[in-house]
């Protein structure tokens, strides 16, 4: 199984632990990820807020670069994933946009390229059975899966399993021997980029998510998006100060939890880079 791998800026910087754990897990499961040569920015929020052409051109440029490696490109960051999927849809549906793009790039060449999220690849291509076989232990962790907004919505763009009650991350972690708790906040908003401009909103929203995770009895939260991770992991101190609630709950990338089940080393999975300390939890569960 060979895929082009688009890390995006986060996985090379603030979410380097997501990149490390992705590479480690992929290697352990025989998924060959080849980084897209000379990849560039996906456009992120600034591009699609300001210029439709730019918002399509940047992912298109990266898809062209990825095509040199494979017909399928794996994207881990939810925001990059969303931007790639949106660009593909817009290019497919809008003739004038396609015409504009074709002035600067051979746009027809990216037709048929598949943009895949790593969860999708692990569940559908690798298969839950293989993951069950590959796991080295049953981590006795109670996990809530937090999908955030961009993986599942809008459903016609991301084509995830279910926009209101997604299951794929749950299925994956259950196959890896963890207990996933059904909870109502799988797709709540974490506040996203308001972290910088309206921190008060992010504090309120993340406080609710963290509290609900505690209420339903979770040991930790599994995420698939660098920004969700940042908002949930970095704000816990401020929440304690502002609302006076104890939330102290470790946040993991799903790849890190999967890696633990596969018996990989914590340092290879980037565990320990987050702000909320997870040593106590992992020790208690015999995963230290």
């Amino acid at each position: 199984m060979k895929y082009a791998y688009y890390p995006g800026c986060s996985l090379h910087a603030t979410a380097v632990d997501y990149d490390e754990s992705t590479q480690a897990v992929a290697k352990a499961l025989g998924v060959e990820l080849i980084e897209v040569p000379d990849w560039s920015c996906c456009g992120s929020t600034p591009a699609h807020c300001t210029d439709e052409l730019l918002a399509a051109a940047l992912p298109a440029q990266n898809l062209l670069a990825a095509k040199a490696v494979a017909d399928q490109v794996v994207v881990c960051c939810s925001a990059c994933f969303s931007r790639f999927k949106f660009a593909q849809k817009h290019i497919e549906e809008k003739d004038d946009l396609r015409a504009q793009l074709s002035e600067t790039m051979p746009i027809d060449e990216i037709e048929g390229m598949q943009v895949r999220h790593l969860i999708d690849v692990l569940v559908r291509d690798v298969g839950l059975e293989k993951i069950e076989q590959a796991k080295q232990c049953d981590p006795q962790l109670k996990v809530v899966c937090y999908y955030g907004c961009l993986l599942t919505r809008p459903p016609k763009v991301t084509e995830w399993d279910d926009p209101e009650d997604p299951q794929m991350m749950d299925d994956l972690l259950r196959a890896a021997g963890m207990e996933t708790i059904d909870w109502p906040f799988k797709t709540e908003c974490c506040g996203a980029t308001f972290a910088l401009t309206r921190t008060d909103i992010v504090l309120r929203l993340t406080a609710e998510i963290l509290q609900m995770a505690r209420e339903v009895g979770a040991d930790c939260i599994s995420v698939a998006c660098p920004l969700c991770h940042a908002n949930l992991d970095m704000r816990q101190d401020d929440i304690r100060k502002k609302f006076g609630v104890e939330c102290d709950i470790p946040i993991f990338y799903f790849t890190q939890l999967l890696g633990l089940a596969l018996g990989l080393e914590k340092r290879d999975l980037g565990i320990g880079r987050a702000l909320v300390n997870c040593d106590e939890l992992l020790t208690a569960k015999g995963l230290a």
């Binding site: 279910d162 926009p163 209101e164 009650d165 109502p184 906040f185 609900m212 209420e215």
Partner: protein, 681 residues
């Protein structure tokens, strides 16, 4: 312009005398004589005249051979217009007519009557549609005028080939079949029966009553549904000329208006209806419990069951899907205890054939499943219920004997949120229509909740309040002013459980704020959708349905209870969402249509039917397969296909199927069609 003036202005054409020099004294022409056609071109006020130059059309058409008279007039369908036709037939010895005006669906009967009054065979009168198919759909006057001329040319070719046809008379079976025994079907059946005719009242469920039997109280008067409905149910059950056919389904319908033949599957109850006393002992002893459909899953019933206490008929039915005996071959407890010896395990479905003259579809509605709403928990939260589930709670005969108790723990809810338009007016769920009754029943629910739980609080999320109806708006006002319901204009984005509460998160668009309510119970006003299986029934009845699968009426304003198949009528929510007052009114209307049909001694049958040239027919039988009306049969002695003229609807399917052109449709013969096509090419 008067009719007289029109006559003066009209053009006597050069071909007034027959070209062959014969004199034609007889108005009904023989084939040897050249036809004498009169053409009447209608202005339809400005409907036609604005886009089509009727004067030019008249002048052009007058030049045609065989046209001995052509004129135009403001409204040919008016009384003077019709008189003009009658007069002209006589004065110009016309033997054929063309009226160029609207669609034949509008006025063919009018002009054929005028033709008959003038002494012509009505089937020698044709209409050229220059309104719907020309002036209404075009803007360019020059081109529209040219097209109108061409349309009239084609119809001239047709009328020249037309033959005088005679209508025949068919007897009527004065007996009706009503499909579906809810309030719509029962009301229709009662009205027809009270008119003195026999009615078969069929329902696929083990008892009659439909959705109305489930209801607690009804708007806008808050009288109990049972109190007003059971008298009707009992009347239907006791009426001498109503036969109940419960647990039965339509297998096949053949024939046509006045003389349908319906094959009905009487599903095996595994209980002898004539012996069962409804004592209920079998039910008590049956070991298998399943969710009750009648109580919408809020209680259980046994595998042998009577849906509810007042069910008519009060006869048990074994649900074979869940019965232990049918599944494992062991049990028969019910049979052991039955003192009436009514249990018959080897009972089989019975097919019966009934002749009826009219059929009324009254198959009602279902609620869109709440399982499709991810945002409201996919039906997984027990305290998120739908409107009909609340009705069962509100019913004195329901699972809580009329008390409102939440399904999860039986506690009395204090804060209840009602969400309207769940599915309705929501294109993302594929339903763009308004379900019409939810505004009213939600207001009723909010009021009844307050009447039962005095310290309770009802919240209603709505899009718009549509309370058009007698005393409806007042009723909603009372929900707010007397029963303190809080109405919030906005949508609910999410319902999720937190502890014992359901958190309802929505928007109040009037105050522009986000709202979160910690509710004890949530009631969804799910969209009204047609009952399952309507497509199949529509196919059997040969009637249409719309994009939402509601049965299609013949005309949305003027023929709301008729269908496009003569003799098949509609009543109730199978046609569109409707409340009880509207349903009862429509049921009465459908019954009136049936009664007026049954008031005739005979029906006249349309003579435009298929015809077989027996010398050419090879007896291949393809026409028999092509016919949807059972009108084509094989004459085994002559080995040729024949036409049962009474059954033939003149659709033409057999004509296209015939490989050697041995059948033709009268007055739509191939030579006529070819001449019509040639006229424009």
């Amino acid at each position: 312009m008067t009719a007289e003036q029109a006559l003066v202005n009209s053009t006597e054409t050069a071909s007034a005398q027959p070209a062959n020099g014969l004199t034609d004294t007889d108005a009904a022409s023989s084939a040897r004589q050249a036809p004498r056609v009169g053409v009447f071109i209608c202005h339809c006020g400005i409907n036609i005249a604005k886009t089509v130059d009727v004067e030019r059309v008249t002048a052009e058409i007058a030049k045609e051979p065989n046209v001995v008279f052509a004129t135009n007039y403001t409204y040919v369908c008016s009384t003077p217009g019709q008189e003009m036709i009658v007069e002209t037939i006589k004065s110009h010895r016309l033997d054929r007519l063309v009226v160029a005006s609207c669609s034949p669906k509008m006025h063919e009967t009018t002009f054929r009557r005028a033709a008959a009054k003038g002494g012509l065979n009505p089937f020698l009168c044709e209409m050229a549609n220059i309104r719907e198919q020309c002036s209404w759909v075009h803007e360019d006057r020059e081109q529209a005028t040219q097209k109108a001329i061409e349309i009239i040319h084609t119809i001239l070719e047709k009328v020249k080939g037309d033959e005088a046809l005679e209508v025949s008379q068919v007897s009527i079976t004065r007996r009706a079949l009503v499909i579906g025994a809810g309030i719509a079907g029962i009301q229709t059946a009662l009205d027809i029966a009270n008119g003195g005719h026999e009615v078969l009242l069929l329902d696929r469920y083990p008892c009659i009553g439909g959705n109305m039997a489930r209801l607690g109280e009804t708007f806008p008067t808050l009288d109990c549904a049972s109190c007003i409905f059971t008298p009707k149910v009992v009347e239907a059950a006791q009426a001498e000329n109503i036969t109940l056919l419960t647990y039965s389904e339509i297998e096949e319908v053949t024939g046509s208006v006045g003389n349908f033949e319906v094959t009905i599957r009487r599903k095996a109850r595994s209980v002898d209806e004539s012996k069962c006393t409804g004592c209920g002992l079998c039910i008590e002893k049956c070991p298998t419990k399943v969710l009750s459909e009648f109580d919408r899953g809020m209680t259980t019933r046994k595998a042998i069951y009577i849906p509810f206490a007042q069910a008519v008929p009060n006869v048990a039915t074994i649900d074979k899907e869940s019965c232990r005996y049918y599944k494992t071959g062991k049990c028969k407890v019910c049979q052991k205890f039955c003192q009436a010896d009514a249990i018959v395990f080897d009972q089989e479905d019975e097919m019966i054939t009934e002749k009826v003259g009219a059929i009324i579809a009254a198959t009602g509605y279902e609620l869109l499943s709440k399982d499709v709403y991810g945002e409201y928990g996919y039906g997984q939260y027990p305290d998120v219920i739908d409107g009909l589930q609340l009705e069962r709670m509100l019913s004195a005969a329901g699972p809580t004997t009329g008390e409102i108790r939440r399904p999860s723990d039986g506690e009395v809810p204090k804060e209840v949120v009602f969400i309207q338009c769940v599915g309705s007016r929501d294109d993302s769920k594929g339903i763009s229509y308004c379900s019409k009754i939810c505004c009213m029943y939600t207001a009723k629910h909010a009021r009844l909740f307050k009447h039962r739980v005095h310290d309770g609080q009802a919240y209603v999320f709505y899009m718009d309040i549509r309370a058009g109806g007698k005393r409806y708006e007042e009723f909603v006002k009372q929900a707010i002013t007397e029963d303190d319901a809080v109405y919030l204009r906005g949508r609910v984005s999410k319902v999720y459980p937190r502890g014992k509460k359901l958190i309802v998160r929505g928007a109040d668009t009037l105050s522009g704020t986000q709202i979160e309510i910690a509710a004890d119970m949530v009631v969804l006003a799910c969209a009204i959708v047609p009952s399952p299986g309507v497509e199949d029934l529509a196919r059997k009845l040969r009637i249409g349905y719309d994009e939402n699968k509601f049965f299609a009426e013949a005309h949305v304003k003027l023929r709301p209870v008729e269908t496009n198949t003569a003799g098949v009528f509609l009543a109730g929510a199978c046609q569109a969402p409707k409340d009880i007052p509207d349903t009862v009114a429509q049921a009465g209307c459908a019954a009136a249509k049936v009664l007026s049909l049954f008031a005739h001694d005979h029906l006249t049958s349309e003579p435009v039917v298929a015809w077989v040239d027996e010398e050419v027919c090879s007896g291949c039988g393809l026409c028999i397969k092509a016919c949807s009306y059972d009108a084509r049969k094989m004459d085994q002695r002559k080995r040729v296909a024949i036409v049962e003229e009474v059954l033939c609807q003149g659709c033409g399917a057999c004509i296209s199927a015939c490989p050697n052109s041995s059948c033709e449709l009268k007055n739509f013969r191939s030579d006529q069609i070819v001449a019509m096509v040639d006229a424009v090419t």
